[in-house]
Subunit: 201 residues, 2 copies
C-alpha cells in the first residue's frame, strides 16, 4: 500500500501468492482478498492441502512419478505392460498420455530435460533409475516422449545412446501436423517432419 | 488423472487451488506442482500466511478497512484529515486512491455495493458505521467514490440521501475521459459526461 500503510499479515499473504508461477501482483492481491473472505474451515483446508501434499508426495520407487505410496498407481496396476516404458519429462505428461486411453505400458518420469543454459545436466534427472530398470532385462521397448524442443530432443538422443548398448528397442513419438490444426499455420519444420513421416493411405 | 490413477493429496491440493477466483484446472495443476517443488520451509510459510492472514485480519473499528490492529494504519495516522471521508466499495479501492498521493482525508469501506440481483442490500454493507461517523458531527464532506457502475451509482445515491439530512456536504468523483485514453474509443456515455463536466482553460 502506498505511503507505508501496510497490513503485515495481508502483505505476507500477497507476497506468498506472488511467488507462484504466473501470478502477478494484481492476481496475488485478488487471491489474498479471496482467502480473507473464506470461512475459517476453508482457510484451514487450503493450508492443510498445501502441507499434506508437500509432506506425503514423493517419487515412485520404480518410475519416479509422483505418489503418496511407495509405488505410484500405474506401477501398482498389474494390468499395465511393464515391458514397455514411455519416458516423459514431467508428471503432467503422464496425465496427457493417459488421456489417450490407448497406451497400456509403464512410464518413466525424468523430472526435466538436459539444458546446459539452465544448468540442468543428466545427473539432475532420473536417468540412472531408468537405466536400472532397463538393465533388469525385462524391458523390450523404451518410447522417448520428451518434448519436441531442443532440450527434449537432446535428452532423447542422450538417453537413447545410453540405452542402445543394453539391446533394447528405443523409439520416438512421431512428428507431424497436429490433428485439427491448419496447414497454413504449421511451421516449416513441423511440415517437413510431417512430409518425411508420410504414410500410405 | 485418467483411469482412476489419483494421487489423493495432490488431487486435494489441485482442488483447493481451483476454488480460487480466476484459477482454472490447468493453472491449479501448475500451482500444485509448484508447491510440490518448494522446500518444506517454503510450503510451511505459504500455509502459515494463509492461516495468519485469515486469523488476524478484521475490519477497522472506524472505517471498516482491513487491518490486524483495532484501527487501520490510515485511521491511526494523526496527519490525516478526518473531516473528509472518501467512501469506496472495496479495500483495493483505498490502495488505488492512495496511489494518487494527493488525498489526505480518511476512508470508509462499504465492502460491496447495493445489488438486488446478487441479493446484496444496504444492511449487508458497512453503511450504518458510516452514518455513525457522520452523526459524530465532525465530518464536513463525504466523497462518494463507489464504482461508475449501475450498482455503484445506486449505492452512492442511496447513501447521499441518508447523509444529506445530517447537514454534511456529499460529493461524487468526476466522470470523464481517462487520462492517456483515446477519444475514438471512449463510449458515448463517458463522452457525454466529459462534455457536461467541461471546465474553462
Amino acid at each position: 500500500m502506498a505511503g507505508g500503510y501496510q497490513v503485515a499479515p495481508l502483505a505476507r499473504l500477497v507476497e506468498q501468492f506472488e511467488r507462484l508461477p504466473g501470478i502477478g501482483h494484481k492476481s496475488a492481491q485478488r487471491l489474498a482478498y479471496h482467502v480473507l473472505g473464506m470461512t475459517k474451515e476453508q482457510a484451514q483446508a487450503f493450508a492443510d492441502a498445501v502441507l499434506e501434499a508437500h509432506d506425503k508426495i514423493h517419487y515412485c520407487k520404480v518410475c519416479c512419478n509422483l505418489t503418496d505410496q511407495p509405488l505410484c498407481p500405474i506401477c501398482r496396476d498389474e494390468r499395465r505392460d511393464t515391458s514397455v516404458i514411455c519416458v516423459v519429462e514431467d508428471p503432467r505428461d503422464v496425465i496427457a498420455m493417459e488421456r489417450t486411453n490407448e497406451y497400456k505400458g509403464s512410464y518413466h518420469v525424468l523430472h526435466g530435460a538436459i539444458s546446459p543454459l539452465s544448468d540442468v545436466g543428466p545427473e539432475q534427472l532420473c536417468i540412472k533409475e531408468l537405466l536400472a530398470r532397463v538393465q533388469g532385462g525385462k524391458v523390450k521397448e523404451v518410447i522417448m516422449a520428451t518434448n519436441p524442443t531442443v532440450e527434449g530432443e537432446a535428452t532423447a538422443m542422450y538417453i537413447s545412446r545410453l540405452l542402445k548398448p543394453l539391446g533394447v528397442k528405443v523409439t520416438r513419438l512421431a512428428y507431424g501436423i497436429p490433428v485439427g490444426g491448419d496447414l497454413e499455420y504449421a511451421d516449416e519444420v513441423t511440415l517437413l517432419r510431417a512430409l518425411e513421416g508420410r504414410s500410405e493411405l
